[in-house]
């Protein structure tokens, strides 16, 4: 729960509407586009074949009705979508990006890394019920859409992905606007602004902003606390199972080094990954020498090298969105392991990835007079 959420500076409005959450969001976006606040909207839509969902940049208002902000699966991490639109320069039009909290945090993190330009982009998040595991969903897409919607209404997360079940940052963390459903009375929704950009949007829409969000805050807090306890318990168990090099090697023994997890990860932005480059391709006599030293080596001997190398490179920016686990053909609990590591490494610097754009990423930001206390110690 970031500090900006709690302070009273933010304007908030209570909207009463018979519609369900998705329809409320679409209706809000439609009005905003009518008023010219946004030229386009980026949100998930059902694919033509109806068996999956994908982010679409919608300019024609009539397409809005097919939008599904709370889609049952996360096929592409939203941060990657925003990055592909704005990496090479700021968007030429005013875009509203409707995404889950972890996707908004991923977008912030990528903007710190020069991969996203947030000018002209308004980030809209909503209370996230989690998403279904990709493999489960694909068995029967129609049925699973229904199951997902029912679970969402009941607030039941047992069918959601393991990382969603232990996600303690599933409400407003960063971004400009947030649509709150938790703690709302029947047929009412919270429209909370979290930045100046958000305030301007609500002002222009003439939404009166004197609603009281305490009930929303309270509900969000106790969900977060409960999930936090669950997270710590779950990750502690996982650590006992996968901690230490041997356990880690066994956990990843089935890994076939296909690097899907790296390719779908929002904060793995390199064009050519170090572990795909020439630096890991060695002559045959060296592989044979390695094999002779141990009698037999796994070929390619790169699986643990890649997994730990990726951990080293991105754990400080990991938003534990679970995309990697969805993409792993061998069902290895990659997202849970990386979340476990990220909680610890980010904990060291009490840094939360993507919580706030101005907060520099530890270790890769160098300050001239940063380590004086250490310097003088052994001078």
């Amino acid at each position: 729960m970031s500090k900006s959420e709690g302070n009273s500076k933010n304007k908030c409005a209570i909207i009463s509407s018979k519609l369900d959450t998705n329809e409320v969001i679409i209706d809000f976006l439609k009005k905003a586009m009518d008023k010219g606040i946004f030229d386009a909207v980026l949100m998930p839509l059902k694919v033509p074949a109806g068996d999956s969902f994908a982010y679409v940049l919608i300019k024609d208002k009539t397409l809005l009705k097919d939008g599904v902000p709370l889609s049952p699966i996360m096929s592409v991490q939203g941060a990657k979508a925003v990055s592909s639109v704005t990496r090479l320069g700021k968007a030429k039009m005013k875009i509203a990006a409707v995404m889950r909290p972890c996707e908004i945090r991923g977008t912030n993190e990528l903007s710190k890394l020069g991969q996203t330009n947030l000018e002209n982009i308004t980030l809209i998040s909503m209370d996230c019920p989690g998403v279904l595991p990709m493999s489960d969903f694909l068995i029967d897409p129609e049925k699973n859409i229904r199951i997902f919607n029912e679970a969402m209404q009941k607030g039941d997360d047992t069918i959601m992905r393991p990382v969603c079940q232990i996600c303690d940052k599933s409400s407003m963390v960063a971004g400009d606007l947030h649509i709150g459903i938790r703690g709302a009375k029947k047929d009412t929704f919270f429209m909370i602004s979290n930045s100046q950009k958000g305030n301007d949007v609500l002002d222009k829409l003439g939404i009166d902003l004197k609603g009281d969000i305490n009930s929303w805050q309270a509900k969000v807090k106790n969900i977060a606390d409960e999930k936090h306890k669950k997270r710590e318990k779950h990750l502690k168990e996982l650590k006992s199972k996968t901690g230490g090099l041997d356990n880690l090697a066994d956990t990843f023994s089935q890994c076939i080094n296909c690097h899907n997890c790296m390719r779908v990860c929002p904060v793995c932005y390199c064009r050519l990954c170090y572990f795909d480059s020439d630096k890991v391709k060695h002559p045959s006599e060296d592989y044979l020498k390695m094999a002779e030293r141990k009698g037999s080596i796994r070929f390619l001997p790169d699986t643990i090298l890649f997994q730990m190398g990726r951990m080293l490179h991105m754990s400080l920016s990991c938003v534990s969105c679970g995309a990697c686990e969805d993409a792993c053909p061998m069902s290895i609990p990659v997202a849970q392991i990386f979340s476990m590591i990220a909680d610890e490494t980010q904990g060291l610097f009490d840094y939360v990835s993507g919580r706030n754009i101005e907060e520099p990423i530890p270790l890769i930001t160098y300050k001239e007079d940063e380590l004086h206390d250490v310097e003088d110690a052994n001078d």
Partner: protein
């Protein structure tokens, strides 16, 4: 009649005995084969140099974690191996490696190949769910009977190229009812004979049973037709393409594991194919909405264009797809139609030039006049 070895053990033990012999006699420095790794029985290709490490080797384990051809290319990318090495590979893996050698991505020098009449493998999903052990006996039973198991990978069910063309030794598996008692290894050339000349138990003359294998091939052909018809029904024209690839999440796993995709930086990940803000603007003028990140179908069609002339139909792409798109059927079908034009079988013979990639001076003279 080619010479052959007969070992009174099941096929796997027989091959292991030969491998042990070759290692201990120093005939080879290393052995490439599948091996059990870690405590929960994962199987992965390994490079073995000490003979007692062969105890965990499982050469014909019905799983292809990664295409061995791609591994051998990586092994010899930085120069051919001076020390002799023997690799236990499937026919499609051998063909993939040869296709890569033709493209200067590896070298055949000092590498011996043991292959087999391939009974196909289970999908990766089954290994992920740890269900292969319980289906092993069912697998070997079907192989010895020359039947096709339904839960094999679709690429294997429809595979007609199950006999290796250029392997030094071939283990006769399909439709050989005594494979659990007797292991027959055909020595296809003098190199192979010389390699095992002083192994105990002499050579005998043996041939693959053409009849049984042709019958088996007919079954595979029927399966292939069924798969192709399914795909044809699903993928009609460009819209069919868009629908079938709608689920694709752009993880490019299919290109990462494909042996023929060897580029250091894939064109569809390079700066040239990146959408600039101006492209978004013009596209949005034409159409109300644009899928983001763009280029999902563009990537699939592009890859088809790059790969299909050499696609050996090994099915690794479908195996790795997290959204279960029937990729191997699509690539096999398109591959075959392209290869038929030049009646070219990829990886069949290392000397044979790859069509489209090789330019002959007087090639298109008939069109010129």
């Amino acid at each position: 009649m080619t010479k052959a070895l007969k070992i009174n053990k099941n096929s796997e033990q027989g091959v292991l005995e030969v491998l042990k012999f070759l290692l201990e006699k120093g005939k080879v420095k290393g052995v490439f084969t599948l091996k059990k790794i870690g405590k929960d029985g994962a199987v992965a290709y390994s490079l073995i140099t000490k003979s007692d490490e062969l105890k965990d080797a499982v050469p014909f384990y019905p799983l292809m974690p990664v295409n061995a051809g791609k591994l051998l290319s990586r092994f010899t990318l930085r120069g051919s191996t001076t020390d002799p090495v023997i690799a236990v590979v499937r026919p499609c893996e051998l063909r993939a490696f040869i296709e890569l050698v033709k493209r200067d991505q590896g070298s055949l020098d000092n590498i011996f190949f043991i292959s087999s009449t391939c009974g196909g493998v289970y999908p990766l999903k089954m290994a992920a769910d740890k269900k292969i052990e319980e289906n092993l006996s069912k697998y070997w039973d079907a192989v010895s009977k020359g039947e096709i198991l339904t839960d094999l990978r679709s690429a294997c069910k429809g595979c007609e190229e199950f006999i290796p063309y250029t392997s030094d030794m071939t283990v006769d598996l399909i439709a050989k009812n005594d494979i659990d008692k007797q292991c027959v290894i055909l020595l296809n050339n003098e190199k192979a004979e010389k390699l095992v000349e002083d192994i105990k138990g002499g050579f005998l003359a043996r041939e693959l049973d053409k009849g049984k294998l042709d019958k088996f091939c007919g079954k595979r052909e029927a399966e292939k037709k069924k798969l192709f018809n399914e795909i044809e029904a699903k993928v009609k024209g460009l819209d069919g393409f868009i629908d079938i690839f709608g689920k694709c999440i752009g993880c490019h796993g299919c290109s990462k594991v494909c042996p023929i995709c060897y580029c250091k930086l894939c064109e569809f990940e390079s700066p040239d194919s990146e959408y600039k803000p101006s492209n978004y603007e013009t596209d949005l003028e034409k159409r109300g909405g644009l899928r983001v990140p763009p280029g999902i179908t563009y990537f699939q069609i592009g890859r088809l264009d790059h790969v299909t002339i050499s696609c050996v139909g090994c099915g690794a792409c479908e195996d790795v797809c997290p959204v279960d798109i029937p990729l191997s059927s699509i690539y096999k079908k398109v591959g075959e139609s392209v290869q038929k034009l030049f009646d070219y079988v990829p990886g069949k013979d290392v000397e044979e030039e790859i069509p489209l990639l090789t330019f002959e001076k007087e090639e298109l003279s008939e069109f010129e006049d």
